[in-house]
Symmetry: C2
Subunit: 338 residues, 2 copies
Amino acid sequence: MSELRRDPWVDRWVIMAPERADRPQPKSITAEWPDASADDPFAEGREAETPGELLALRTSGTLPDQPGWRVRVVPNKYPAVRAEQSGTPATEGQYQSMPGIGAHEVIIECPQFETCLSRLSLSHVQEVVWTYRERLRFHRQQAKLAHILIFKNKGRAAGATLAHTHSQLMGTPWVPSLVQQEVATSIQYWHQHQRQLWTDLLQQELAVGQRVVTVGEHFVVLCPYASRFPFETRIIPRTTESCFTRASETEIQELAELLRSTLAVMTRLHPTLAYNLILHTIPLSEQETAGFRWHLEILPRIGQTAGFEWGGGCYINTVAPETAATCLQDAWESADTA
Amino acid sequence: MSELRRDPWVDRWVIMAPERADRPQPKSITAEWPDASADDPFAEGREAETPGELLALRTSGTLPDQPGWRVRVVPNKYPAVRAEQSGTPATEGQYQSMPGIGAHEVIIECPQFETCLSRLSLSHVQEVVWTYRERLRFHRQQAKLAHILIFKNKGRAAGATLAHTHSQLMGTPWVPSLVQQEVATSIQYWHQHQRQLWTDLLQQELAVGQRVVTVGEHFVVLCPYASRFPFETRIIPRTTESCFTRASETEIQELAELLRSTLAVMTRLHPTLAYNLILHTIPLSEQETAGFRWHLEILPRIGQTAGFEWGGGCYINTVAPETAATCLQDAWESADTA
């Protein structure tokens, strides 16, 4: 028996239909590149193959765009948007356009060939998350763009074109519609209740318990009520800050730990897992607000999106978040005791 | 140089970034099932393997759920929603749910094993499109659901789990958000201008010509200004009807002809093409309105959707619709003269 669930933030219904998991399944399309390590333009020693670095965590005494780095940020070699484009917004009859002004950066997460963020050491993952915050801080100071979306595509099925573990930063002159909807709903709720929607949801989730994977001092890891995808997971801070630039060193440390563990547990359950990791934070064009709260979303690319999703903007999910949370919890505990 | 374009109907920005097509490309994931014809539950003679038929176009004298049909509609064997579910809408704290009431049907487009709709005869494709209209009419008469989405998933990359060419019908107790946005924008425009947004857009497109693929007596085939995907194409009627149930026999005939030709031309350009075909029509829960216009959308699964799309609800398209329209036109003309 299926159930229809509405997302509390965006106008999106999800059909929870576990019985559809019994369908004949297509073979996995999440397999990785066979010999990607042999041709890895993100490897240490091949710095000349990427545009010059914007930021790097490096051993002191080493030079920019030379070996000696641990995390390295470079402009995307094939940028969707770029800083230096000329032109102005235009209207042509019913149509609006803007020049492709923006920022498109690649955060190379480690110098050696490695496909999984979760296989890096904890201190290394902390440096990756710290780098996210620093790049966001840089663009907030620049104040030229409306929004910064930091995300990660892991695996071909998640849209990655290179196997070496990396994240991306996309700065745009408009606010992406999903972020805009989340922010608008959050602020409306705040005005009505003088409390964050996030606060009330976390309270409800912790009381119910069914969808909570694990609880840290500063964060809660849970599978959202209206998950679009099997094993969709969010890492939600207990702080009420709207902007990720405000994350403290202690929060960065715990966030890295929970992110690394969550991805490791997911990968143990689904060895060829492809996923998208997304950081939602208040747009640069908005005031920091008491209503919104930054958070991380992990969207596994399990199951296919098809005409219903593309044509309607709604989703069919074959794994209820309660089931996913239980699986993740069990795998987490067996890892802890291993 | 990239350009940012806003969709006129839904709040969605698309980055047109042709230079990103130069990136190292992952191998195609659109390959079909190797021996699907050997195990084809949709084949004539295997009617017992599907739920009993709801409608079939058959040779007179043949019996339901027996051979002798040309197009056959059956309930989905693994339905995401179903007619007979019990329960009522529920609220649990911040969350809303509904029982999974609805309709989930499969339209089997031909009795023999065939993967491409465009390889069926013209009269056969006309019967398929006629069947879409009949099932929509049935559900409009029943008046139990809010919306009917008819769509087709062609190829694994488009989410199909069976290779035998088929479409699906999904009836839901809510209106999918993308449809709701399109309808709302259309009605607002109508109130402001006393003309359809569609009328004005078609006029502009026909005057500019750059994105028009072909023009029929009753329809225009074009690549939309803010296409999300390479070679995204719409078939837009010249009629101002909001509901596809109003399509005349003459319109059904021309629509089938243009759909078949468009898919054939696309498949010539991309032999392993996977795509979603979507029929947008006024929700059953809405009055038929002068503001909206039903239409067909073809969304090729060329290129990957990744963190930017899933996290932001915006898109990067590496083929400008002007380029796609020119390619389709050229291929169309060379087919006409072949």
